[in-house]
Amino acid sequence: MVSHDITTLESLKDHLFSAMVLEHATLPVYLTALYSIKPERNLDAFNIIRVVAVEEMLHLTFAANLLNAIGGDVDLTKKGFVPDYPTFIPDSIEDFKVHLGSFSQDSLETFLKIERPTPPGSVQERVVDRRIPHHNWCISPHKDGKTQYATIGEFYNAIKDGVEFLEKEAQTIGGTIFVGNPANQITAEFYYSGGGKLFSVTDLSSAVRAINLVIDQGEGYVQDDKPSSVYDQYGEIAHFYRFEQLKLRQYYIQGDMPGRPSGPDIKIDWLHGVYETIVDPKVTDYPEGSELRKAAFDFNCAYAEFLKLLTRAYNGERELLTSKAVPAMFEFRNLMIPLIRNLMPNQNGRNAAPTFEIDAAWDALSGEDKF
């Protein structure tokens, strides 16, 4: 019997906000890698990373639906929503840092770690004692304040248990935890995306379905405690196996077992197909008064505005998702790419990259600090 990690509604809200932070935290990482790929080069890698990034947006939206369903505060403009890179992600084997940087063999290894399925039976404890200070983690620590969830999967399992426990508790006195405004739920007609359709979270069964979808799309489909196929029941391939194709240089096809793809070959040109950027850049790395610095700063402000738009879209103005947020995403693509193509002074031929220092952008936008 697992002792419950989440026993109050407040704690569940914190965890779900944390889930939004986590699902979003991979987006800057994947986008930087994606746009570091040179035009017309590494098309296989480009397409694979793009699909995963789009699905992370879907997961973020599911997390927002879950938090909205229980009447939580869905606010992507809160300080700390975007982590300071590098950020830590828990893993059953070894915790690891996630960096912002161009597509490389190292970054591919990190992507695999982010999405790796937990080997069945490998997790003995839901939480473990970590030596790394908590403020570097992109998900909230366990309620005891000392330990950390062993894996992302365990983090979501704790949420699932918490939802079930709290809903049953509420029902015994004739209530429910699903008191959020249904008009805030983002459904398929407000958002288009591959890999699973959005649906409303309004009760226990839809909540559990949403959490399972997020876990399955990341780690892969596990049946009887064994990965049975790289494809899930909808014929979708999990993120881990999508990335593994790039490592093994071969596409999976229906029927393939994990680790043994038998589809067409994949070629990757590491040398000439990618703009190599500096890693974990900060605005202050760019020379004062330079166009680079201004572009990096402008990008952060544009991204902050994008988070503001998403927040409005998740709080009732659902039509903003396609009318404004999607065009804004394409707009910041056009701000990221020129940065990634510009040479960084005195960095051995490495290029610049966006810094995603969004907290600093909020300060500047509110006039507290001017660059």
């Binding site: 040398l271 999607v326 394409f330 020129p338 510009n342």
Partner: protein, 193 residues
């Protein structure tokens, strides 16, 4: 190393321009890096876009090599030398003096003028346009001098799209429904310089 030796080595550069990275400490790489920087300075002057914008297209090296391969490395260097001379002559003088010098010595030059105009067209449209017949008759026909699009990316990255606040048809889509929004024409950077 003698210039002729460098030019000879440059003529063996790969035709696949996307793999040219100008890295390394060899004399040819060093030469390429240095002259490429000068090519960008010239391009900033004649396109009125900033260095950041031009590098942001990712096309600079490919344009530089395209022009040099067509007109020859020697003529390219002559063009850059002439531009440098104008810049140093115009230093400390009014804007109109600089403009006059550019018109007289560069755009008005029968050998260099058509090339500079072609460099502007390259940045804006991504196409190399065949040089005028007068030019070829006087300075000799050059290999590969036919009108062509440098690469699919060159079309997409043309400065013309930014200039008119639109996106290239078939690429850089702005997302579902964005066609309902007004075009956003950016301010002209040159005015700020």
């Amino acid at each position: 190393m003698e210039k002729e030796v460098i030019y000879a080595k440059l003529s063996n550069l790969p035709r696949d321009l996307t793999i040219i990275d100008f890295q390394g400490d060899g004399e040819v790489e060093t030469y390429l890096r240095r002259t490429y920087e000068r090519f960008i300075t010239l391009s900033v002057e004649v396109t009125a876009f900033t260095q950041f914008d031009l590098q942001g297209t990712g096309q600079g090296k490919s344009y530089y090599v395209t022009v040099s391969q067509i007109v020859g490395w020697e003529i390219m260097e002559q063009l850059l030398d002439t531009f440098d001379l104008i810049v140093s002559e115009a230093e400390g003088q009014s804007k109109s003096v600089r403009k006059d010098l550019l018109y007289q010595s560069l755009f008005g030059d029968e050998k260099l003028g058509p090339i500079v105009r072609n460099i502007i067209k390259l940045w804006f449209i991504g196409n190399w346009y065949q040089l005028p017949r007068d030019w070829s008759e006087k300075f000799g026909p050059v290999a590969r001098d036919v009108t062509f699009t440098v690469s699919p990316a060159a079309y997409v990255e043309g400065l013309l799209w930014t200039t008119i606040g639109a996106h290239p048809a078939g690429a850089k889509a702005q997302g579902y429904g964005s066609w309902a929004n007004k075009p956003q024409i950016p301010s002209i950077h040159a005015e700020k310089r």
